[in-house]
Subunit: 277 residues, 2 copies
Amino acid sequence: MSLKAEEPSVRKLGILAGTGRLPEEVAEARRAEGKPVFIVDLEGAAAQWASSFPNERVSLGQVGRVLALLEREGCDAVTMAGGLTRPSLTKVRFDRQGLALLPRVARLFGRGDDGLLSGVADLFEEHGFPVIGAEAFLPRSVAGSGVLAGTLCEEDGIATGRAILDALGPFDIGQAVVVAGGRCLAVEAAEGTAAMLDRVAALRAGDERGGVLVKMPKRGQDFRVDRPAIGPDTIRAAAKAGLSGIAVEAGGVFVLDAPRTVDLADQSGLFLFGFEP
Amino acid sequence: MSLKAEEPSVRKLGILAGTGRLPEEVAEARRAEGKPVFIVDLEGAAAQWASSFPNERVSLGQVGRVLALLEREGCDAVTMAGGLTRPSLTKVRFDRQGLALLPRVARLFGRGDDGLLSGVADLFEEHGFPVIGAEAFLPRSVAGSGVLAGTLCEEDGIATGRAILDALGPFDIGQAVVVAGGRCLAVEAAEGTAAMLDRVAALRAGDERGGVLVKMPKRGQDFRVDRPAIGPDTIRAAAKAGLSGIAVEAGGVFVLDAPRTVDLADQSGLFLFGFEP
């Protein structure tokens, strides 16, 4: 395992919350330890659950407001968790501090997703808020190594998938591919893993089976801001696509709602495998 | 230009015809030169136009029948042109000669698309029918170099797209990517270029613009059996996805219905650029 997640000594954590279960899991884990959090609900992505914590909803261009909120709440660190639809730069309404940073932000928009998010993390750090990857607060949610569910097969497909993702490493593209019967059926880019698996299901029209989803971090991925994840939805989508299983990099990929994800894989006859980086 | 298409001295050409305009263009080009062709209509893919030529419809497993037809018709060479949905091996109904080749064909099914088609081409050649790439009969349909339509821009995106496709070269995956604003939005695998462009259009929801489709042959591509192509449909789909243009490898990519494709690019405000390999 490459994981170096020591419990950081954060007093009050600001959670910049996108969509999905991850930010909620972080918030609940902190609460279970009796530690305070403050939820910055990005564009309402966390609206469904944020109300059970101190929270404010912000829009993406309100850089000044977010920094002021974190200050006011006495947060001493920040984590960025969950999904976010990349906005078009022209659609973001910036507040005054956001506008002052516009030239810099515009440059960040010229980068890939990882580059954009890394740049945003740098910005928070310069304003005194260290950005800590979510796995630091959820160490047991990161995939371990070995067979985590089902019966491992598709070893050749896993090797091919890893080689493809390695080759794509320098380009800040996707983090996942589907390989079946020696063929690469799909490569993930901006559409995300769920849409890629739906595409495979449609391509196969239900009659072909087998194959594996391989998912791992990009080379040089900034774990402060992003770490690939799988969860119950991934298992369902992989089953629908007729795959035999899912292979992820041990220590590199989140398994959201881990007990349920593993159960669901077992029930669906899918293997779940953590390979050593 | 890397094109080495000399007019081969074929007397009667057998055209194994998949979907799309390409096989029809080959047949018409041969007819215009007063030379006979015989259309092997694969699963009815050429049903709309094959009737204006001597033809027979076959299903994919009828290997013996196809060889007998080519023999009976006195074909001295074969070209494989057009698209084909990769069948599931279990769905193909083989004739006696097909069944005799089943172990070999089963092995071919373990390869990528190119590997499968190359193996089929080898099979025809062993039976005395040289397999000739369609561009030999349509030399003017292969993209030339330089600006072919519109005004070139997105040079950085073209360079990024080429680098990504180069990196994917060893894996027999797709032949196309979309790059916009420094980001790779989509990588083509089994779904094909049209589906990839539709995905980009859906991702962008109509408001974002710019970017380029880059398309080139895979490294080591077997030009006997496949050569990437663009045509009027590609221009329409690229325009719908908000792209600024299309860059293809000069000498490596077919431009189907070339005058119409170039006109349509000009009308749609898209550039069309052939880069030197």
